[in-house]
Symmetry: C2
Subunit: 468 residues, 2 copies
């Protein structure tokens, strides 16, 4: 037996045959992510518990095998799928899907890394509780923590890190670090769990977590606001925050171009605008309240606010009420843009005071150097996030080649850096952003990163971080 | 010159004579903390910038001097003052008190580590903004981040960690780690700043930060609620959360004993209860709202809620309205208890579902083994925090000696561990909790702690962590 065969034989013996997948067809589901990127794995290991995860990692260490931790495969940066070598092992956490103790009085729940958001939602709804992360995809808890994801409500509830009370993780050598307390505060020493949150699985594999929950709001009201210009949106947001405070849970931005692509891809979408009258930029704001407000009275107040905002010339107008339709439009945008053949799609973040300047700079770049290319961005304006999406049509003279697309990508990232932004708002680095990491991360920070990586994973066998 | 004299001479030359304090009288202010604990330092270094902090740390490294980082000296665990050896150097960050860019649209501000909370409040008020940490003392930003503090609003706004966008820190060897972005999300690699938050200054010295701000609420209403029993408080809290959601920013608990000590120490305090009628336990709840509510209508709604809660037999009654008076009582409690001669004072935290059980266990411990000792606890019920305060009167037969007090302290900490709590909710470990750290922290966690400590501070010269 060669080393690979010996590894697989050993895995079957130590973990049990049903925990080791090697059949090519069976593996392929794990080798491909949400965006269709795929590689080829030596095998997929599917532990059902923390102890089995520890055994799997010890085995991989013994055989010096590189491990790609994986749960929901909804990431954007290629970090959860193997490369093409056929030598990397996928460690799927999807089997650790136990839903543990729901402590309603503490507003917390203990869950395994493989629990999907959709399932968590079902479990929590009867208790009137909510894990307040609204994400277009249906990720698992483990991946959400490993990438420290956000979603549409980040401006109100913070990133996932802010809602994690406890973490259980397994180091590359199989050591289990148990930090699973259900405490809102615990400063009895450095907070180890922070190392694993946002580490992309590269410092340790998260197997379980205790999550802090929110009360599920009973009244939700959304409105589509039509600002006079992009640069006046911060003023609009300040006005709304002064009035509604934390009742605002989403403040999303949609460019007119993004809306047009959505209507083109999904003709059945409710049409909110005359075909000729799609605005340059639209804001989708969502308010949510506990029992004190009924949706009806909250909506009445929003109507009143809209009238005031129009009279102050902060907006041209607004649509209030059909929230399901507005969110259908919002959700259709990324799905429509994904379908286009030549698209650059970046997930970046700024101080929200700088979003307009950045956007103007991108538009200037396109008009001068890539005429024909279309900025069809959308994103979470309220937390400074922007899904910069640039569509390069077939007839774009300068953008048609792969090299031209790569150059454009770098040029936009350079602008992100120039305006003080992050080249990865929510998805980590991964193979896709490896060159951006090298280009934009200060040397001192990279040295701290690599020294922590060497400390916890000396043989550098965990994860596809892209942080080299 | 001996080594100490040579160090001081060199410090004067490299940092400037006004940055080095050695006069015994001048030093003594820095050697003593809020609680009067004191040691003796070799010198106090007072850098005015990050570059000077880096120079100071390089110098200390060269002379192999132990450094005690310090800012507001309001900690509870002795970590910010030197030991008695006269060989440790205090590094005071109070001189780095620049208030930098206030970005109103982004709701963020850049501040130096030495900026006091009171000053920050003054700077933010005109902009209608707020750093939502309400702490009895007046700490500096640097110390708040280093200890990851909380305060009365933690249940609503999270710990300080949740409100930090960027950190600048200096490692023991003088390396500056700049992570000062003003971004609500940035996952372009492991989040280095999390290492420094809550590290007690032991992994690096925080010199500056970008803080996320909240809108300052315009309407605040407080009420003193008199629950029928401690064990029914979680139900009361759930009811209030279902009605008011995030309008609840504080939910504090005060034992009747704590209230009695406050009245005894401060006879001028407004008397809310008949002398004979101080309840066993009182809840102080605070609601805060942005512009949508006026205080008057919010108070009217609270009156209505109180009537409903009384009719549901969740509370016996309530006082609504004189919030300044209620908070005067709340603030008087710790000041009164500090003055008593024999007191055990612990800052612990639990899942809030377990606070009652823990409290009953402490009361049983006292009645069976320390008759005469009085549980006079108070704390942040809403986030699971409890300031367990046990007063041992002069005539207590079993508690009068220092040894007996130490035994009682350990016995209570054992109960904290038994009920899944943390022995240090907000203040870190420090010399005061060193033995608790050894007793309650799992070996694996301690190994991770010590390996990270060795990585960032190989000579172990930074801070008085108590984590050995």
């Amino acid at each position: 037996m060669n080393s690979s065969e010996s590894f697989i034989a050993c895995a079957r013996q130590e973990l049990g045959p049903d925990r080791v997948i090697t059949d090519r067809d069976d593996c392929s589901a794990y080798e491909r992510d949400y965006f269709g990127r795929s590689g080829q794995a030596l095998a997929v290991l599917c532990p059902k518990s923390t102890a089995e995860t520890s055994a799997a990692l010890r085995l991989c260490a013994r055989y010096a095998v590189t491990v790609v931790p994986q749960s929901g495969r909804t990431g954007l940066v290629g970090a959860s799928t193997p490369d093409d070598s056929g030598r990397q092992v996928i460690l799927s956490l999807c089997g650790i899907d136990q839903v543990g103790h729901l402590d309603a009085a503490n507003r917390s729940i203990h869950v395994g890394a493989g629990v999907r958001m959709s399932r968590l939602r079902q479990v929590l709804a009867p208790a009137g509780l909510w894990f307040p992360f609204d994400i277009a995809a249906d990720p698992c808890v483990g991946g959400m923590l490993a990438t420290n994801t956000g979603g549409s409500h980040l401006m109100r509830f913070g990133d996932v890190r802010s809602s994690v009370l406890g973490v259980e993780a397994v180091l590359a050598d199989g050591t289990v670090v148990d930090s699973l307390k259900a405490l809102r505060k615990d400063n009895a020493g450095f907070d180890c769990k922070q190392l694993f949150i946002g580490s992309g699985g590269g410092l340790g594999v998260i197997t379980g977590a205790v999550l802090a929950l929110q009360r599920r709001p009973v009244a939700r009201v959304s409105a589509l606001l039509l600002p006079h210009s992009h640069e006046r949106i911060p003023e609009l947001l300040s006005w709304l925050e002064a009035r509604y405070g934390d009742l605002i849970i989403s403040f999303e931005g949609l460019s007119g171009n993004a809306i047009r692509y959505a209507y083109r891809a999904f003709p059945d979408l409710p049409q909110h605008f005359e075909a000729s009258g799609i605005p340059d930029y639209v804001v989708l704001v969502e308010l949510a309240s506990a029992g004190l407000f009924q949706a009806q009275s909250l909506a009445a107040d929003v109507h009143d606010s809209v009238a005031q905002l129009v009279s102050r010339a902060a907006i041209r107008g607004a649509l209030v009420g059909d929230e399901a339709d507005y969110w259908a439009l919002r959700d259709a945008v990324p799905r429509a843009l994904m379908k286009l053949p030549r698209v650059i799609s970046l997930d970046v973040a700024f101080a929200r005071s700088r979003l307009t300047q950045f956007r103007v700079a991108v538009q200037q770049l396109l008009s001068t150097q890539y005429p024909g290319a279309v900025l069809a961005d959308f994103g979470h304006f309220g937390d400074g996030g922007d899904h910069v999406t640039i569509v390069v049509p077939d007839d774009c003279p300068t953008g048609a080649t792969r090299l031209a697309l790569m150059r454009l990508r770098v040029a936009v990232y350079d602008l992100v850096a120039e305006y003080g932004g992050s080249f990865s708002a929510e998805h980590g680095v991964g193979p896709l952003n490896e060159s951006a990491y090298r280009r934009y991360t200060p040397p001192t920070t990279r040295r701290v990163h690599s020294s922590i990586k060497r400390l916890l994973d000396p043989a550098q066998r965990l994860g596809r971080l892209g942080m080299t």
